[in-house]
Amino acid sequence: MQNLTKENYIFPKQKLQLKKIEKDKINRVLIFCGSFNPPTIGHLRVLEDIANHFSLLDQNIIGGYISPVNQKYKKKDLTVGDYRIEMCDLATKSSSWIMLDPWEALQDEYIRTKISLEHFQKEIDTILEKEKIEEKVKVSLVCGSDVIESMIAPDTFWIKEQVIELTKKFNIICGLRDTTADNLKEKISKSYLEPVQEYIHIIKTSPMSISSTMVRNLANKKLSFKYFVLDPVMDYILKNQLYI
């Protein structure tokens, strides 16, 4: 990760699981945009939850990216931009499918989310073309509820037409706890995003206080419980086929 610049940047693809792509199914790549200052176990956990959600809907997740926002984004405390890249790299190291894409953070200026998502779609499409894969892979935006809240805020800095276009083209996926999820859905239905609300997936994810019951249920369903328990614990559960 040292001396990474805009010029020597290469799109990371080592964890993309192209062989998972299936015809007649929705194939997705998840893009988690945020500050990641620093990246927490909760961030990674949200991605695992969302992947579980789509696999239960019989959709394929081909890969996931964490895309730290550019430092020029007007938010306090983002002064450690380069460190965020390094930390996201470390945080995703033990994942078999989540990668860091530093593209957004490496640009000279703040990048609007739509532009960032188009970058991903372009890169993915190029790979598919090279590999002669004809199926489509959908790039989807994963974000925290704060992002949606800011989109529909009265004094929003988002460009409304862009948000609507982005939502239609890429879909927005937001993982939230039960009660807040219902609240957010209602807020969206009363905002300018109402006409595109079907493209916004509000997914009820596990609260950050992680319970053993939840882990057992997931293990039992053979779904991911990584980042709920520490890696050596997870290995032990799998090796000994516990809770199945």
Partner: protein, 242 residues
């Protein structure tokens, strides 16, 4: 689990931290640990932070898995749960696993388990010729308070009072907690009012990046909130100090 092979773990106890004028604590988390999660370890880190910010010393911590005689469905064997606790605490500098409860042939009441810890620690202190009294409060979540005050419930009122007056009680506020004030009122409106001075409420707030940063800035632990390599990196690069 074999009783004859049992030894009280003490390898991570930090005796050198004991200062005679200061209160010193050992934190014991009881539970089924089926399996142990990051949140279990995280709550011990939070309680330790709680004491540290009150200028008190924490000498060590333990996970104490209950034995299988405790009637909970789907409880894995002692061996598996104890081993998982070992794995989960392997990267901790101060949290150990005590398997004494696992070696018992019958269900162990919390009071008895706390006495076991008190006896073990006191005899260690005697050996080391350290005269400070080490406190071992009972740590629990709000759900336990609710079960304690439930009429004709699992807990025996007298025993609860005896336990709290001897050991003290720390209530850890978790997800969607009652505000501390409300919880205090709830406690005061029941038989627990007799021991209210022995009960402390420790807030363990929602675990976000903002929280992680503010902890690091205060020199408090953010372990298990963040992945280990991230914490190492933050430390090495002295991030979020200002």
């Amino acid at each position: 689990m074999d009783l004859y092979q049992y030894k009280f773990p003490q390898n991570k106890l930090q005796f050198n931290k004991i200062i005679p004028q200061k209160d010193s604590y050992i934190l014991v988390l009881f539970g089924s640990f089926n399996p142990p999660t990051i949140a279990h370890l995280r709550s011990l880190e939070s309680i330790s932070n709680f004491f540290k910010s009150k200028d008190k010393n924490v000498i060590g911590g333990y996970l104490s898995p209950v034995n299988t005689l405790y009637t909970q469905k789907n409880l894995e064997s002692e061996k598996h749960r104890a081993t998982m606790c070992d794995l989960a605490t392997s990267s901790s500098s101060w949290i150990m696993v005590d398997k004494w409860e696992c070696t018992r042939k019958s269900y162990v009441r919390t009071f008895t388990a706390l006495e076991h810890f008190k006896d073990e620690i006191d005899s260690l202190m005697k050996k080391k010729k350290i005269k400070t009294n080490i406190k071992i409060p009972y740590l629990c979540g709000q759900d336990i308070i609710d079960s304690m005050i439930e009429p004709n419930g699992f807990w025996v009122e007298e025993r609860v009072l005896r336990m709290i007056s001897k050991f003290g009680l720390i209530v850890v506020q978790r997800e969607d907690p009652l505000p501390s004030k409300k919880l205090e009122q709830k406690i005061k409106s029941t038989f627990l009012n007799d021991v209210k001075d022995k009960i402390e409420i420790c807030e363990s707030p929602v675990e976000s990046s903002t929280l992680a940063r503010s902890l690091i800035k205060k020199n408090l632990s953010a372990k298990y909130l963040l992945a280990d390599p991230v914490i190492d990196y933050i430390k090495r690069n002295q991030l979020y100090r200002l």
